[in-house]
């Protein structure tokens, strides 16, 4: 078959809403786009363990501690599902990790902000995981089979993450004045960074058009951001807290809120490596990887030795 014919088959499948599987023919740019998107997603899960891991030893109760441990463990699992999905496209785990460790690959800008107080752990679960779920629910119907299947599994697990975050926020928001203040402070600091998670405005998003055309994404950055605001305002109001946006206003005509866009200059600054915690995050990841080197080597040697014993027997 000629390339044109292959391309027709590929386009035909997308048009019929059929899935693309690893051994199917796919345009080179589709493959590249997926490797970039899925590996960035995986890196985000792995780096995302750090800001929350920061509070495991200081969780205010044993219950809070086991919950946080389970959540951080889930994030690690999500990273692993996604790495293996990316590997079905012909890239190796080592290449992917190397791209992360050298700073060549990107991960979500959100994890370059610090988690300063316990309320931040509530805000991260509620807002950051909430925004991630919105994105991931859409990605469950992504056109690439392994990515879509990983998303189905991840979405099942994420719901606990958001609920535990909101529970922390309710405890603080209905607690003492100091606790309520702490909750408001966390909301103030996480609101705009969370809105950035959906990516730049559609008019300036270089990768969005292809992603929608190929049905990797089903909705645009702006559509998801709007839905997030519409859904979250009610949750903020319930807590008796205030969205840190003086221009937030219900717009009857569009049946959604008008709101202030996040600071896109700050966003660009962070994804190019200059956020408050970029260096710290990469250093922590590299340290963990380097310190695990002897474990990987020992496991490799042990496996080899044992297989030799089997063969000899």
């Amino acid at each position: 078959m000629e390339i044109n014919k292959f391309e027709d088959v590929f386009e035909g499948k997308l048009a019929k809403n059929e899935m693309i599987e690893p051994k199917d023919w796919m345009p080179e740019n589709y493959r590249k786009h997926l490797i970039r998107q899925i590996s960035q997603h995986a890196h985000s899960e792995i780096i995302g363990m750090l800001p929350e891991g920061n509070w495991i030893t200081r969780a205010p109760s044993l219950r809070a501690k086991v919950v946080l441990l389970a959540k951080v463990q889930d994030e690690g699992g999500h990273g692993l599902y996604l790495y293996t999905a990316a590997e079905t496209l012909g890239v190796t785990r080592d290449e992917l990790l190397n791209n992360l460790h050298t700073g060549k690959a990107k991960y979500s800008s959100i994890f370059n902000y610090p988690t300063l107080t316990w309320a931040d752990i509530g805000a991260v679960g509620w807002l950051v995981d909430g925004a991630a779920i919105m994105n991931q629910v859409m990605l469950q119907r992504s056109s690439y089979g392994p990515y879509s299947r990983a998303m189905v599994r991840i979405c099942k697990e994420e719901s606990f993450h958001q609920r535990q975050g909101y529970e922390i926020m309710t405890h603080l928001a209905f607690g003492t004045n100091d606790q309520k203040e702490m909750a408001q402070d966390a909301l103030n600091r996480w609101w705009y960074p969370t809105m950035m998670m959906f990516g730049p405005p559609d008019s300036e998003s270089p990768n969005s058009e292809n992603a929608v055309k190929w049905r990797i994404k089903r909705e645009t950055n702006d559509q998801l951001r709007q839905r997030f605001v519409d859904q979250t305002v009610r949750q903020v109001e319930y807590l008796g807290l205030t969205v840190p946006d003086a221009h937030l206003k219900w717009n009857e005509a569009k049946n959604g809120y008008d709101f202030t866009e996040p600071n896109w200059v700050e966003f660009k600054n962070i994804i190019s490596g200059n956020g408050p915690c970029n260096k710290e995050r990469l250093a922590a990841r590299n340290k963990a990887h380097d310190e695990g080197k002897w474990v990987r080597e020992a496991a490799q040697v042990f496996a080899k030795k044992r297989s030799e014993v089997y063969e000899a027997a």
Binding site: R93, D94, R153, R306, S307
Partner: protein, 94 residues
């Protein structure tokens, strides 16, 4: 420089009596490690009661390009389906 170990495919059985279903893959250096990693990665919430792990390179798969000729022989054998046969109404469901 691959030091993550080979890739393994993981199959889970949800409950005794049900079929094993592919749920994903992972890296491990040997079969014991593959089994333990599969437990930690894919059954954190009681998703399975039994696990198979298989080295990815041991799996033989059909090619999408051969889809037509490969599966075609069964497509024209409608008589393999129960609906091909006429059963008198009086008999009811069979």
């Amino acid at each position: 420089m691959d030091n993550q170990g080979p890739v393994w495919e993981v199959f889970l059985q949800k409950k005794a009596g049900q079929p094993f279903v592919h749920c994903g893959s992972l890296h491990a250096f040997d079969k014991e490690m593959a089994l333990e990693n599969a437990r930690d990665l894919y059954t954190r919430r009681g998703e399975g009661c039994s696990i198979w792990v298989v080295p990815s390179n041991a799996i033989v798969a059909s090619s999408p390009e051969d889809f037509g000729p490969f599966f075609e022989p069964s497509n024209d054998k409608v008589y393999r389906h129960p609906t091909f046969y006429q059963i008198p109404d009086a008999i009811g469901h069979m």
